[in-house]
């Protein structure tokens, strides 16, 4: 059973179309992340699901009910805002019970619900305070409490962590994940942070320019991005894109070649199978930084899909856990993630191993995955 169905949803503001036919379906209990750069329409989409924006075309169903023109309060949803939107003149307790009070829930039941949620989020000591007397993290908890106190069909989160500092964001992220695990409600979570999307979601909808570019499980989105936009957006540092020509290597196997640093040509043999699907002469080779490493014969022996290429190292950035290396491939700069123990040194010409089994090939015209 699906708890949220969006079909061919469109939204225009005047002559500007901000959503151009969105199709998303969330199964009961799923955690869907809507991710994309700012201006991609993800927040508008969430506002439409909440009923705060009208629908220009298409349909939104919550459960089996068509809710296109149902008022927000009658959609059986709860929402956490980026700004938290806590009512400044009310105490935390009043903030949490405001919704129930509006709906005429009797007092004993309200008190019971507040007690339950306060325990769940560990905010009991804050119940008597006003939002102005809370820290950012505490406000965030209260905002979640206000959503959790009801038992809605759908939870909507609009970039709830983006106002927190880095450490707190990571803490709250895992807390949201635990919470979702415990509560098990269908959740739609808007974020521009691809790490949040990857860590939290059961499925990710990557949005760009008013369209869903890919809607799939996190690992699938990461490993097999539908197009170059998704490939570039998901993952940090971003995937390397190399313009290549299709051909064969010295052993006669299908391969891609590109201009190497010294002016010569570097050739990378393709992983089995994929060559048959290439219909163009040129393809764009996409390689994630973690699939580039220092070459060694032992590695090659263990993993035959590894191809070898030489490149001068232009810069290294140690981050502690790993060292990011910037190498020159012709006119391109290619980024690799190295184990600090075998990190390249600046100025060195390194022999790199590239794991071609993880390589993605993109059509240079359509930018889509081959």
């Amino acid at each position: 059973m699906s708890s949220l169905t969006i079909r061919n949803l469109r939204k225009s503001f005047g002559s500007v179309e901000v959503l151009k036919g969105i199709d998303i379906e969330a199964k009961a209990g799923e955690f869907i992340a809507l991710v994309g750069p700012s201006g991609c329409g993800k927040s508008t989409l969430l506002a439409m699901i909440a009923g705060l924006e009208s629908v220009s075309e298409g349909e939104i169903r919550i459960g089996d009910r068509l809710v296109n023109s149902v008022a927000p309060k009658d959609r059986d949803i709860a929402m956490v805002f980026q700004s938290y939107a806590l009512y400044p003149t009310m105490t935390v307790r009043e903030n949490i019970t405001f919704g129930m009070e509006s709906r005429g829930v009797p007092r004993p039941q309200r008190d019971e619900a507040v007690k339950r949620v306060a325990a769940l989020l560990q905010i009991e000591p804050l119940l008597g305070r006003k939002p102005g007397q809370l820290s950012g993290g505490q406000r965030q908890r209260v905002a979640m409490g206000r959503a959790l106190v009801r038992d809605p069909k759908l939870f909507l989160f609009d970039e709830p962590l983006s106002n927190l500092d880095a450490k707190l964001r990571v803490d709250m992220r895992s807390e949201i994940k635990k919470l979702h695990h415990r509560v098990g409600k269908t959740t739609i979570y808007v974020t521009h942070d691809q790490v949040e999307a990857m860590t939290l979601a059961s499925r990710i909808a990557v949005m760009h320019q008013g369209q869903v570019q890919q809607f799939d499980e996190p690992q699938a989105v990461y490993d097999r991005p539908a197009n170059m936009f998704v490939a570039g957006f998901m993952g940090s540092p971003a995937m390397n894109f190399i313009q290549t020509e299709v051909g064969t290597d010295t052993d006669g196997r299908p391969a891609v070649s590109f201009k190497a640093a010294g002016g010569g040509t570097a050739t990378l043999a393709l992983h089995n199978g994929i060559a048959g699907q290439i219909s163009t002469r040129n393809v764009i080779l996409g390689i994630r930084p973690e699939h580039i490493f220092r070459y060694s014969p032992e590695l090659k022996a263990a993993k035959p899909s590894i191809a070898k290429v030489e490149a001068p190292v232009e810069m290294v950035e140690p981050t502690g856990a790993e060292t990011i290396g910037f190498m020159r491939f012709g006119d391109l700069e290619v980024v690799g993630r190295f184990d600090p123990d075998e990190a390249p040194r600046m100025g060195e010409t390194i022999t790199l191993g590239v794991d071609m089994s993880h390589a993605c090939l993109f059509d240079p015209i359509t930018k889509n995955l081959i």
């Binding site: 909440a50 309060k73 003149t89 509006s102």
Partner: protein, 300 residues
Amino acid sequence: MTDATIAAVHDREAAIAGRRHLASRTIIYALLTFFALIYLAPLVILVFNSFREQPEIAQNGLIAFPRSFQLSAWADAWSTYCIGGTCEGMRRNFLNSLWMAVPATVLSTALGALNGYVLSKWRFRGSETLFTLMLLGVFMPGQIALMPWAFILGKLGLTNSTYGLILVHVIQGISFTTLFCRNYYVSIPDDLIKAARIDGAGFWRIFRKIILPLSPPILIVTVIWQFTGIWNEYLFGVVFTSGREQPITAALVALTASGTNVRAYDVMSAAVLIGALPPLLVYFFGGKYFVRGLTQGAIK
């Protein structure tokens, strides 16, 4: 050694700057005091005269330091002095003004808050245009509306009545109160309204539970502004009412033209002060909120 010389140079410069600062401060405060005295002089003279005895005023002149003391002028002005044939003092007109200014202030403020709420948080097609049109009222002098009001009050049968004046002041005041409230409410985050809508609150519940509790700063400003404006208003009062129905501003003028031979400056002074007292009191008690409210912008 070098340190000492540098320090010495700086000390001298600092001393010069300090003297200059002191001089400019002195000039500023002298000027401010001077103008404050000019501004306060009429009030001081009135207060003095209201406690001086009439013969002494006649003898020493209107502007003089008091040599006598009496309280009777205040009592006379309040309840027995004769204006235009009736000898009831200012009491009735004072109550007229009160009975006009209080409801008109409350109503125009309430309507302004409601308008501001709609125009900032429930925008509709054309709401900005509507707001701009309402703003025209802020810049329109009251005289322009005099004839139309005469016509309307005549039709409604509200001439020479405090109710008529209440109506006039409520309508005339809506432009200002709407402007104040709308601009204040714009700074309340829209997310609060959205959250409340999802929480199941409707138009009125959001207004009562979320907007109004955030409103005291601007409501105090609006109330002070409206009350002083309506209380001090003269033109509509003198044109649309007469005699016993006049508000105190209009009656004060009748006082000077009441035609008796001897001018009772002591009673007149007391009467004028009675007329000026309510706005003064409002300012004394609410003034600090007024200044704070005008400068207060966003709500965090």
